[in-house]
Symmetry: C2
Subunit: 418 residues, 2 copies
């Protein structure tokens, strides 16, 4: 079924456009033909949907449960006790809740790592989103646990093999939670099956200090990643706050994608802004992520882009991470990183696009890209199309009420008696 | 006319409440009687409206006109050339646009400093908001200019003398733009007429360096403020980023109110986070402001509170500026600072209140105050009452379309040929 979107403005281009979506692609721009369905944009902004390159979707169940405390206390006293009680049904409904929020705020694709990933995959498929999903592989140096994690990882990869919307990835959780053998297995399996790898890297200073204490042979954590076979253009590394200049050059040389998570980093107090300036100069591909809702506490990519820009500027250079940079990071660069096939308003690209009503916060409208990043918010999104299917129309998403009801009930049940 | 709001949730209290607004006040809480008009809240959050303690409302006309550049270039090449062309009609429509955005995002009262303030006052009155307004007094050390500024200030104070919604304030722009004589006149006039004072203070490191170069007799900028008679509980000082520990003690001793503007500070690259930790420990009254839309670029107080919290935590202490702190700053502390008569949901307080639909971003709802500050946004506000009058109902504000049309036309005309 084809959809014609009439009379839309495209940020950065002048005039108004009619766009035909057909066969999952942007078929024509400014062809005047009608589609099977016609959406009157009436001057709304039409742009690529947003791409969130690091989250733990099901953690939306924990939103607001624990805030404003040190990272270890947050994890040990609050998050881990809840996670130990999670069932696959919780993950299913938590992921649905996250997908609902992402769609409502204009996100079309995301990169996720968590547990019970078959249930997460079911939820994503049903919501019609694109995702790269990985089972969070944690062996803590234990061989038995490693074998079990390998089995779970393989099972999940097979489970989503035939999906059009979902791509499996390897999810070694972090260098401090996965043994060298575990990391090597992930690297080899990734190579053999041509799968991307999703890893937490250098989120805190403690991670780097502890790595150096335990691995005295390495001056830089990225040398270790290279040694175990993970440092490649298949790798997406989340956080990367505590990398040094040489690490950054290594990321650039190997084509690693960075997922910067400014809100989560600040909220958990990781200690300093990520060094975007050096990454930009070195040509590293930097994308943006929200992290899970327990440390953000929403999934709004426009808010994330604004805060990313503000975080860079605080130290005194207001030219760092411009509105245009933020816009590229959450659209084109993110889409390329996750290989969604979308990310720009170009004929032949995947029709992963959104309409956005600039409302009052976009008035007077001197610069739509500036308005998008610095003033508008996810709630200004009105329509979302993924692979040419309309998953949100006039701010309405199918089954909203059921998702809210079920997710709320499961969340309240989880915290009972913790 | 009385209004009954039925079946509302109040963050921090359990159960649901019926609230009667009458005579501009919160008349009863949980009286079951109906009012002349009944609003079914259906479980929406009811809370005090937000208070924005530092902005330049009419600068909404410049939103998105110049971003991502050093402060001096931004001012000299972009903002000042536009401001030199401003007419009173521009300020009228720019202020209306700002009021419209503030109402839409739940703000009931604000503190403003700009030019053509009679026109700003007309706009605020017509929109039904509360405001403390000050004419921006700038003499640049010139006696003739000072006399003219005194005249303009007196004229404006008289103009709004009979207003119920607007209070006049003195607006000495900053220590670096107003002579000692000008500052002393403001202090004396403020004392004589019992008017608050609104001042920019210590926004940049250069301001402090230049002050010390020119005033070698003072070790601290607040000693100079005290000497000219301005350091009192009548003073609201915006920014205060580059104050030292002794300055902070002085603010506390004299009961000065600080307006912290985290988004503007970061966007303009003032160089470091404001020292909220020391201010909090010293007992300084810290409120939140957005600054003008040219350096933010919106007027959303929930976004401002989230970013204030994140800014404090970045250096490594996630306990600084909690959700509860942020919530108090934009409600109770702000309302007391501007003496609005509102700021809490208590019988007898001014009925400056809002209803807010938690939508998807407030699910599951473990902690409504956390959800408000960290997840929800101004766009989630559905109803706004100021002195018991309903200025927004179901997200609709009177004359929206006219304001957008007129403000856009004026903004586009201003930038033409600059």
């Amino acid at each position: 079924m084809s959809i014609a979107i009439k009379d839309a403005k495209i940020p950065g281009r002048s005039g108004r456009f009619d766009i035909l979506l057909d066969g999952g692609k942007i078929d024509r721009i400014s062809g005047k033909e009608d589609g099977d369905e016609v959406i009157q944009a009436d001057g709304k902004y039409l742009l690529p949907g947003f791409v969130n390159t690091h989250t733990h979707a099901a953690m939306s169940l924990f939103r607001g449960y624990a805030d404003d405390m040190p990272l270890q206390q947050w994890l040990e006293d609050h998050i881990w006790p809840l996670e130990s009680k999670l069932t696959k049904e919780d993950v299913y409904w938590g992921t649905k809740l996250a997908c609902l929020e992402m769609i409502k705020t204009g996100t079309v694709a995301f990169n996720d790592m968590y547990f019970f990933m078959e249930s997460a995959a079911d939820a994503v498929e049903e919501m019609g989103m694109k995702a790269v999903l990985s089972y969070g592989f944690i062996d803590l140096g234990d061989e038995e646990k490693r074998k079990a994690e390998i089995k779970k990882t393989k099972k999940f990869v097979d489970y989503v093999a035939s999906s059009e919307l979902i791509k499996p990835a390897l999810g070694p959780h972090a260098i401090y939670t996965v043994s060298e053998e575990g990391l090597r297995w992930c690297a080899e399996f990734s190579h053999k099956r041509e799968l991307p790898v999703h890893l937490h890297l250098a989120e805190t200073e403690d991670e780097i200090k502890e790595f150096k204490r335990q691995n005295t042979g390495y001056d830089h954590i990225t040398e270790y990643l290279d040694e175990v076979g993970l440092l490649s253009n298949n790798l997406l590394a989340a956080h990367c706050v505590w990398l040094d200049e040489e690490d950054i050059v290594n990321l650039s040389d190997k084509g690693v994608v960075v997922s910067h998570n400014p809100v989560s980093n600040m909220k958990l107090g990781v200690g300093k802004p990520m060094d975007y300036g050096s990454m930009y100069s070195a040509g590293v591909r930097v994308t943006l992520g929200t992290d899970g809702c327990a440390s953000n506490n929403n999934l709004d990519m426009l808010e994330t882009a604004k805060i990313a820009a503000l975080q860079q500027k605080i130290s005194g250079d207001p030219t760092l991470l411009s509105a245009e940079d933020g816009y590229s990071m959450i659209t084109e660069i993110g889409a390329r990183a996750l290989k969604t096939g979308g990310g720009s308003i170009t004929e032949g690209m995947a029709a992963d696009i959104i309409l956005l009503d600039k409302g009052i916060k976009g008035v007077p409208g001197h610069n739509p890209v500036s308005d998008l990043i610095y003033s508008l918010q996810g709630s200004d999104v009105t329509h979302v199309f993924i692979n040419g299917s309309m998953v949100m129309k006039d701010r309405y998403v199918r089954d909203e009420d059921e998702i809210v009801r079920e997710a709320t009930a499961r969340a309240m049940n989880l915290v009972k008696g913790v």
